[in-house]
């Protein structure tokens, strides 16, 4: 068995492990009770949830992201890179015939994602608040995900780097459910609960304030 095939199998196994581990976590989570709000809503829950997932994420929608627009957009770009990177990883066995120009463009995207990730890592080392908040898990999580994007970029530019890309991907995927990276599966729930809260009370979006 060649290194290339072995690394591909390893990455595939890592994907299976991650999906299984996240699935387990979600199953445990779904077994927990979810309080049903019986207070008569003032506004619309659905509108609140829609807002929480869309305009509520816009950099201009809240004071914190207006104040830290660049840092926020860096984070958004990093996470967008991760999602694209994961999609490309899954599709990678079938990307052999893709024209080089497309690979190069995707590679630039991944490289930018990695750059934004590493910038976040540097910030964790130099910005006093971030430094105070960070644990070794935080540094490692940002490093491994940034490295994943960098290895993917390298592979897109240079197909010979495939083994390296798959090995890094496998390491990142195995770590994901264990450490801080797993916050990704709770994100949707957290925004859902937030959306229901602000929606039912007609706090946001502002258009709901006409409701009585």
């Amino acid at each position: 068995m060649s290194f290339s095939v072995a690394s591909q199998i390893l990455a595939a196994l890592a994907i299976i492990f991650t999906v299984f581990a996240f699935g387990q976590r979600l199953q445990t989570f779904s077994r927990l009770s979810r309080p049903v709000d019986q207070a008569k809503p003032k506004g619309s829950l659905q509108t609140g949830v829609l807002y929480a997932y869309t305009l509520g994420m816009a950099p201009w929608s809240k004071e914190s992201t207006r104040r830290h627009a660049i840092a926020y957009m860096r984070g958004v770009a990093f996470h967008a890179g991760i999602f694209l990177g994961l999609l490309l990883l899954i599709a990678s066995p079938w990307l052999g015939g893709v024209p080089q120009v497309v690979r190069t463009l995707l590679g630039i995207g991944m490289a930018l994602g990695a750059l934004f990730g590493f910038a976040g890592l540097v910030l964790r080392f130099v910005e006093p608040n971030l430094k105070a908040l960070s644990t070794p898990d935080d540094y490692f999580a940002v490093s491994i995900v940034s490295l994943f994007l960098a290895s993917e970029a390298l592979w897109l530019f240079l197909p010979q780097a495939q083994v390296f890309f798959y090995l890094v991907s496998a390491a990142m995927l195995v770590y994901a459910p264990l450490g801080k990276i797993r916050h990704c599966i709770y994100f949707a729930y957290s925004r859902l609960f937030y959306g229901r809260f602000i929606g039912s009370r007609a706090v946001l979006p502002h258009s709901q304030q006409g409701a009585r």
Partner: protein, 446 residues
């Protein structure tokens, strides 16, 4: 060896672990963007005042109990076992360093509910005997009082009779009254302790010919500040039962943020059956009167530069944001907003029971600095707040920072603008709080 306190705390933690709490414990990416959302951090920019850092202590224990990697390698994730010292630290954090204002949640890209975590910590601190004594005392006193209302009812009726005389003078309506527990009334008004939350509203109700009655209970609910669902429910239950037995169409809560929040948004989930009445804040009722033209108002009665402080429980957590402005625009000629306002408003620094704690004075003066700065920058001479706790805190901030403003309730401004025959007497009742008056009111509420 695990102590009883630690066992109780862990039991409480696990008991509270539902989906929203677990999501709040798991979702934080420690990005720190919430820092300036917190008025404590704005007043004192140090890492421990970042909401994410505040909740981290709880996450450390959660991880040590529920996370595989943290159990085998705690230093890697910063996991820590629970100890009695940590419980005491939780109590300090949850009761003194967070006013549950929800501003960090609104500003978090994840929508992380840190107040939910702090409420859970308050519940744990209360269960382990670490809650502030004063809050326990206030909650227990309210429960005791509610057990046998007949004991104080006689005295209360006497006070109401005195108030009715003033009401008649004020309104010029010879038959104006303050009906107590009248069956079949449409509205049950639940006031706070003290005539200042009854008389102005009674004047408004009687002038518009409202079909109303006064509750014999106080709206405030200190059980909620303790994170103690049982005590909070006991206090709320008596108002719910009263409303049911009187057959009212709605409960109207006095200008009190937490009382409104409890009765409007929490209590409907507590007693198993759907409310047969609706719950509104008096602010919403006043806005309805203004919009329906039921009040004859002369805005020139309030010509001073006036601003409004959004109570967190009414506004950001309760959705009463525009109603207060509808009223203010009708009763003032020189209204100006604080910046920021509405759901972005800063907490006054006295919320979640802090204003009732004598030992919290220094910390709430510190945490209230952003609000004091806002007021100063607004150039207002009068600050209106539709929440008693906020008014007490604003009164103290006024004194502490030399703001030179008056602090008043919304209903008081409305009464002034109504130009009632006895308005001069009414003005004597305006709650323009200074530090000494604030402590008097707090003591009276005990």
């Amino acid at each position: 060896m695990t102590s009883n306190k630690v066992e109780t705390a862990l039991e409480m933690l696990n008991k509270q672990l539902n989906q929203p709490l677990t999501a709040a414990l798991e979702v934080c990416a420690r990005c720190g963007i919430c820092a300036e959302a917190c008025h404590y951090y704005v007043a004192e920019p140090k890492p421990e005042n970042i909401p994410a850092a505040r909740a981290e202590s709880m996450r450390q224990v959660y991880r040590s109990e529920h996370d595989f990697l943290s159990r085998i390698f705690p230093a890697w994730t910063g996991a820590e076992r629970l100890s009695e010292e940590k419980i005491a630290q939780w109590a300090e954090t949850a009761f003194m360093n967070c006013t549950l204002c929800y501003r960090c949640t609104v500003n978090c890209p994840m929508g992380l509910d840190t107040p939910l975590l702090m409420s859970a910590l308050r519940a744990i601190a209360t269960a382990t005997g670490n809650a502030p004594e004063m809050l326990e005392m206030l909650a227990d006193a309210a429960i005791e009082k509610g057990k046998d209302p007949e004991v104080f009812l006689e005295y209360f009726r006497g006070s109401i009779a005195d108030m009715e005389k003033e009401l008649r003078e004020l309104t010029g309506i010879p038959v104006a009254s303050i009906p107590l527990q009248r069956k079949g009334a449409k509205k049950l008004y639940v006031a706070l302790s003290g005539a200042h939350t009854i008389l102005p509203v009674a004047a408004i109700f009687e002038t518009v010919g409202e079909d109303w009655t006064l509750s014999i209970y106080e709206a405030s609910n200190y059980g909620i500040f303790l994170g103690d669902a049982s005590r909070a429910q006991t206090i709320a239950r008596r108002i719910v039962d009263e409303a049911k037995s009187l057959g009212v169409e709605e409960i109207v809560i006095s200008e009190c943020g937490h009382a409104y929040y409890v009765m409007r948004w929490l209590a409907p989930n507590w007693f198993g059956d759907e409310f047969t009445f609706r719950v509104r804040s008096i602010v919403e009722v006043l806005a309805e009167y203004v919009e329906a033209g039921r009040l004859t108002l002369d805005a020139s009665a309030n010509p001073e530069p006036i601003t409004y402080h959004d109570s967190c429980n009414l506004g950001r957590k309760g959705g009463v944001l525009e109603e207060s402005r509808i009223v203010l625009n009708a009763v003032t000629t020189n209204y100006r907003e604080l910046t920021p306002n509405r759901e972005e408003a800063y907490c006054c620094g006295g919320g979640a029971g802090l204003v009732a704690l004598p030992e919290a004075y220094d910390i709430r003066m510190m945490a209230g600095k952003p609000k004091a700065d806002q007021v100063k920058h607004s150039g207002a001479q009068v600050v209106v707040a539709a929440c008693e706790n906020c008014r007490l805190q604003l009164g103290d901030l006024n004194e502490h920072y030399g703001l030179g403003v008056g602090v008043t309730a919304l209903a008081d401004l409305v009464v002034k603008a109504m130009r009632l025959p006895g308005n001069r007497a009414a003005e004597d009742h305006l709650l323009t709080v200074n530090a000494s008056e604030a402590s008097e009111v707090a003591i009276y509420e005990v």
